[in-house]
């Protein structure tokens, strides 16, 4: 067997997603599936999302498009008209998966809902990704990233306590939650089909996917005594023993700290298994003469967040704050590694690109962009399977780049057909 065989090599995926869902097909493509991105004639509107190559906007310059459509092929096709649908249905016969992230109901309106697709190809798996799901009272709600983030409870808990709820400055709620769930659902259904021979419909909902990101505390406190947890910014909250009839109580300690040239992350864990890291940090602070009496007296194996007072926590935290402020990110990270302290810098892109571990694992890969006569560094394989290495990157497709390859060679259309369809703006 050729070494280029990937885990998903036998599968063909028709990818109709917009920017919300690109990463779903991208992962399947990395794993070896033949993913064909189907764009509107003229190109996908998401090609206008920045940032852009050399800051020059243009459909072939969107870094957003490049990052999440790598390893796919692309054709242009108007799936709204009859001619386009006839071609789509021919592609469908040989497809294993159809991915889409239109507003719910759009595919049905086009006559391309799951029952219609299944009639043409009963083995096909249709994966629909949306903000709120294909059914339910919010099905038709507009669902931009920040809205889904807010309605999933994440915004309320993100951000500084003295300001309003916050969303990340890069809209990745759909990417890290909904589109990934769509990818998992697709894989479960592909595996299931291997047993039953039948396809099915997957309804992936970003809101539902994002709720578990809250972790258990907000739910636990609500369950215990209807306490509503609010955002705490750079702090980490430790819950104290709740006794019957008493409201929940907690202490706060920093999780993000400023240092000389940026920020670092450190969580003071206690008890066997995790407390060693904090003990090692305390020894280091002490060795530099910066540990106060309270910190010097703490045994991190015995320390209990459940019973300590906020005053004590503040005394300890202030020692940490002063100590970190006196050092640089690099100093802290380097020494932390030597001392087995779980302390990490708040990395920016530059830090990531220069990080030894990622360089040693050859995570960064250079991808050729022949039209631009250059190669560009991308994040490399997301997994390292021993038998089926991930596909070597091929830059994201240009508008209609594989039209001839797919329509002429694979679908058997004639050049004349193609030219007619182009003039009719079907392709």
């Amino acid at each position: 067997m050729a070494i280029t065989e990937g885990m998903l090599s036998p599968y063909r995926v028709l990818d109709l997603t917009n920017e919300r869902g690109f990463i779903c097909g991208k992962l399947l493509a990395d794993l070896g599936a033949d993913v064909i991105k189907i764009e509107k004639p003229g190109g996908d509107p998401a090609r206008s999302i920045g940032p852009f190559y050399n800051d020059i906007p243009g459909p072939e310059k969107s870094l957003y498009w490049w990052a999440f459509n790598i390893n796919k092929r692309a054709i242009t096709l108007d799936i709204e008209g009859a001619d386009g649908q006839a071609i789509f249905n021919r592609l469908l016969k040989k497809a294993d998966v159809v991915l889409e992230s239109f507003d719910p109901g759009h595919m049905e309106k086009l006559g391309l809902g799951y029952p219609a697709l299944a009639q043409i190809n009963p083995r096909v798996i249709m994966t629909s990704l949306s903000g709120f799901g294909q059914t339910g009272p919010y099905r038709d709600y507009k669902a931009p990233d920040i809205v889904v983030w807010a309605l999933s409870g994440n915004a309320y808990l993100t951000g500084d306590p003295d300001r309003g709820p916050l969303s990340p400055s890069f809209p990745f709620a759909y990417i890290v939650a909904g589109a990934m769930q769509a990818a998992i659902g697709t894989m479960v259904a592909l595996f299931h089909r291997g047993i039953t021979g039948e396809g099915q419909w997957i309804d992936a909902a970003a809101q539902l996917s994002l709720v578990p990101f809250l972790g258990p505390e907000p739910l636990a406190l609500w369950e215990e005594d209807e306490t509503i947890i609010r955002r705490q910014g750079r702090l980490i909250r430790r819950y104290q023993q709740i006794s019957a009839g008493k409201k929940a109580a907690w202490v706060d300690a920093p999780m993000l700290y400023e240092c000389q040239d940026g920020d670092i992350s450190f969580v003071a864990f206690a008890g066997p298994g995790m407390g060693e890291s904090t003990a090692a940090l305390s020894r280091w602070i002490e060795s530099e003469g910066m540990a106060g009496e309270t910190l010097r007296g703490v045994d991190w194996m015995e320390f209990e967040w459940q019973t300590v007072s906020q005053d004590i926590v503040d005394e300890i935290s202030n020692d940490f704050i002063r100590f970190f402020k006196a050092h640089t990110k690099a100093e802290l990270f380097e020494e932390a590694q030597k001392r087995d302290i779980m302390l990490y810098p708040v990395f920016t892109s530059k830090d990531l690109l220069e990080f030894d571990q990622l360089i040693d694992r050859q995570f960064w890969v250079d991808v050729e962009h022949p039209e631009l006569r250059t190669s560009i560094t991308y994040p490399g394989p997301f997994a390292r399977p021993s038998e089926t290495p991930l596909r070597k990157y091929r830059r994201a497709p240009l508008v209609g780049e594989h039209n001839e390859e797919i329509y002429l060679s694979e679908l058997g259309l004639s050049k004349h057909d193609l030219s007619t369809l182009k003039q009719a703006k079907v392709i």
């Binding site: 809205v147 915004a155 739910l219 992350s265």
Partner: protein, 405 residues
């Protein structure tokens, strides 16, 4: 009756804390048999995580453990430092299709349980390994948690207000992101094995996986040499785009207006106050240029209405809007109810337990399973005698020798 997707797939689960359990859950949701291996001397540390149910500490009372282990799995205790413990674990490897390892790199090797060892026992085994930095490289053994990895992955740096240090994300954010990538790879490997009969080792670095979520920002650096900025709730191609104060105590609503057509609908929906006619706001570029003022004016309006009303009124006009939900709002949210987001389970020690965590997708031909979290060593007898076929007398003998400690 249709078979469940993963019926007959056996998973031996050495993962703990957050990422591994949530990865394996996707197999358990759909019918795999999962055996979670703990040690009585050193159980999953999350069993010690506060808050506890009713404020009473105990190994079976941690909400965090419950939240991570709500899909059916058998729980056994096994002493891997006992020679007979190693013998037994080898028999379990032979039973398994998948071995999942979430320990720091090198831990499994210490027990003679590296991939090469497992392969000798079961040639077609799939071994999923998920640790902070992957199995190779100078920092492979560097420990960490999802809290710190969120900083190291570049997520913390892009979440904050301009001219302030980053606020970072809530909880151990990457612990929610990483399992999703892991699960895609793991199921793909199972599918490959189903077709070809071949197992393999899957090495996933939690750090590498996380970086993929922000790949366009990485390219902005490698191409344009630009570092990402924190910009509050703003987005380059929309305005207004933010989370605005509403009537009530700490009540807020997100609003996102992209196109000029949406802007016109927005103005109409809020009753066309005079300021909306200001020509500076009539185009997206104008709204971006005067965004500070625009945000103040929008908030002047929102602060006079409860967030539910802002949301419904704008959504009815076709504008993206959503209240910044707190836990109570989530409980009452009709859409989440519709998808059975919160379901109550019965737990022998914790009593009634409400948890959120169905998968984020629904399959039309397979339902998912949920189950209360298992107790420490709850299924020792079932696993050792029924599944492995150890005779009862030997089981008792091994127990007294401390093999199951």
């Amino acid at each position: 009756m249709t078979k469940k997707p993963f019926e007959g797939i056996n998973v031996l689960d050495f993962t703990w804390i957050g990422v591994g359990p949530r990865t394996v859950s996707y197999l358990a949701y759909y019918g795999a048999t999962v055996i979670k291996v703990e040690s009585a001397a050193r159980p999953d540390p999350v069993r010690h995580a506060t808050p506890y149910k009713g404020g009473i500490s105990g190994l079976e009372r941690s909400y965090r453990f419950a939240y991570l282990q709500h899909v059916k799995r058998y729980d056994i205790t096994l002493n891997l430092n006992h020679p007979k413990g190693i013998e037994i674990v080898k028999r379990l490897v032979d039973w398994a299709d998948v071995v999942a390892d979430g320990y720091t790199a090198g831990t499994m090797e210490k027990w003679g349980m590296g991939y090469e060892d497992l392969k000798k026992i079961k040639p077609d085994i799939i071994m999923l390994r998920t640790c902070m930095h992957g199995q190779t490289g100078p920092l492979a053994k560097l420990p960490g948690t999802g809290f710190t990895l969120t900083a190291l992955s570049g997520f913390a740096a892009i979440t904050g207000w301009p001219n302030r240090p980053p606020a970072g994300l809530y909880d151990a954010f990457t612990d929610s992101v990483v399992p999703l990538f892991n699960a895609v790879c793991l199921i793909a490997a199972l599918d490959y094995r189903r077709r070809t009969g071949k197992g393999q080792l899957l090495d996933l670095s939690q750090h590498e996986v996380s970086i993929h979520s922000i790949a366009p920002l990485i390219l902005d650096y490698t191409v344009n040499n630009r570092e990402p900025k924190t910009q509050g709730n703003r987005l380059d191609y929309a305005a207004p785009h933010g989370i605005y104060r509403c009537e009530g105590d700490d009540r807020w609503c997100a609003i996102a207006v992209f196109t000029d057509a949406e802007w016109n609908s927005f103005c109409q929906a809020i009753g066309n106050p005079a300021w909306t006619k200001d020509s500076r706001f009539s185009s997206l570029s104008g709204r971006k240029q005067n965004e500070d003022e625009l945000d103040e004016l929008v908030e002047e309006w929102t602060s006079q209405h409860p967030p539910e009303e802002v949301m419904v009124r704008l959504q009815e006009a076709g504008i993206g809007a959503g209240l910044a939900a707190n836990l109570k709002d989530l409980y009452e949210n009709p859409q989440l109810k519709h998808y059975r987001c919160f379901e109550e389970l019965d737990h022998p020690e914790m009593g009634k337990l409400s948890l959120y965590q169905p998968p984020g997708f629904t399959l039309s031909k397979a339902d998912y399973e949920r189950h209360r979290p298992p107790l420490l060593g709850e299924h020792n007898e079932l696993v050792y005698t029924d599944i492995l076929g150890i005779p009862d007398e030997e089981f008792v003998q091994l127990m007294t020798e401390g093999v199951f400690d």
